[in-house]
Amino acid sequence: MKLEFQNVSVAFGSHMVIDRLSLTLEFSRTLALIGPSGGGKSTLLRLIAGLITPTAGKILIDGSPLPDSESDLRTHRSALGIVFQAYNLFPHLSALENVRLPLTAVHRLSLAEASSRAMEILDRFRLGSHAHKKPAALSGGQRQRVAIARAVAPDPGLLLLDEPTSALDPEMTAEVLDLLAELHTTGRRLILATHEMGFGRTIADQVAFVANGRVIQWGPPEEIFSERSSPEIQGFLSRILRY
């Protein structure tokens, strides 16, 4: 999979988050975005997801440019699976209804079809017994797994995950990472912004280090997590691995 950024800038008001980014990233299955908070990982993911549009420049995915119009971007988004850090689920809907909503409302499946597909995925994620619970009755890890189930249910070509474990305790983090590793082994393509360095290193075939709105360095994990990486990465890794 090839991601091309051509002179991409993103400004929120007068604040420049990404300033004329030009780069081409290629990965086969999993791309991990690492780097300090506020460095631009989320913004990059939202750009790829079509949730925000660049102030200037162009983004190409596998050679085809992302559309400009909101309705075309909606089509683009519906072909992706997107999972955020937290508060993904709709609190007034049960786990099953959360997974079912995009299937019926966006992908035009019948209610019966959508229900059986949603139930099948929840069962596969070992959430079957929680299908009828509202998010408030689920643990953080379960909620995030339901969110992943909802993103995967329409069978998207690419799954985007924005720090999916940052709001979770270590045990729940492991629970969610197990699920992602399983998705990875079944061949699903992932782009993942994460602070879980060990996890990123094991499942990613490409890692990009993002800081100050720029991609400082990218390459296979052996390279990024080695002494050959740039001083910024060395500094970042030594800071987060100190304790």
Binding site: R77, F84, Y87, N88, A105, V106
Partner: protein, 257 residues
Amino acid sequence: MSSIFFDRPNAPAPLWARIAVLLTILAGFAAICCWLLAGSLSNWESVWRYRQVFLSGWLLTILIAAVSLVVSLVLGLAVALARRSTFLPLRSLAVLYVELIRGSPLLVQILFFWYVVAAQLGLTNRLFVGILILSAFSAAYLAEMIRAGIESVSESQLESARAIGLHPTQIYRYVIFPQAIRQILPPLAGQLASLIKDSSLLSVIGLSEFTLSAQQVNSATFSTFESFLPLALGYLILTLPISMFSRFLEHRFRYET
């Protein structure tokens, strides 16, 4: 023993204490009323002869309130959405509407619309114009409640909704409204109770609803208290169930997130 009259979350008061408190207060209230009104209430027979006037006025009040409720809900929703529109002229109009209505007395609005606007437009049906005025009045308040409810839905919910590919109408239908309604229902019930009471002001344009009926009975029988006491009770019969229903809704939605 002294703690039975305190109701705390970890030590709720026993049921019999609740009933005892309620009965005592009601009995005390009734006693005070009897004492206050003893001297002035005597002419029930002459008022009773006009019971049909009371009843038809009361029914007309229910009709006015019910129709106004539906119309003001539709109008209020439209104004709330206009208030959130990105199209500046529409939004400004909505702001102007809300501020004008909420900033001026209902009595002035009724007089102005009946004697100036309706007269100019050639509208002569008091009931129609009355319902229109009351709906427009209530809609301004409802619009702000609905807007507050819509805006209570968090930004991350909207982003999730966009992420799964919902289009704006679907986001309102599946994500915003179901969550906003929890916030809106309790104040909405309160507004409905106000609407019923506010309809009494329509008596100034000669709409023979409940309040005007009481005034008519009063002038026919010269028994002021005997005419207005049933009036108060008649409104209470309508508003008390609404506030009880509102409390029920608050309870129901408090635990369900």
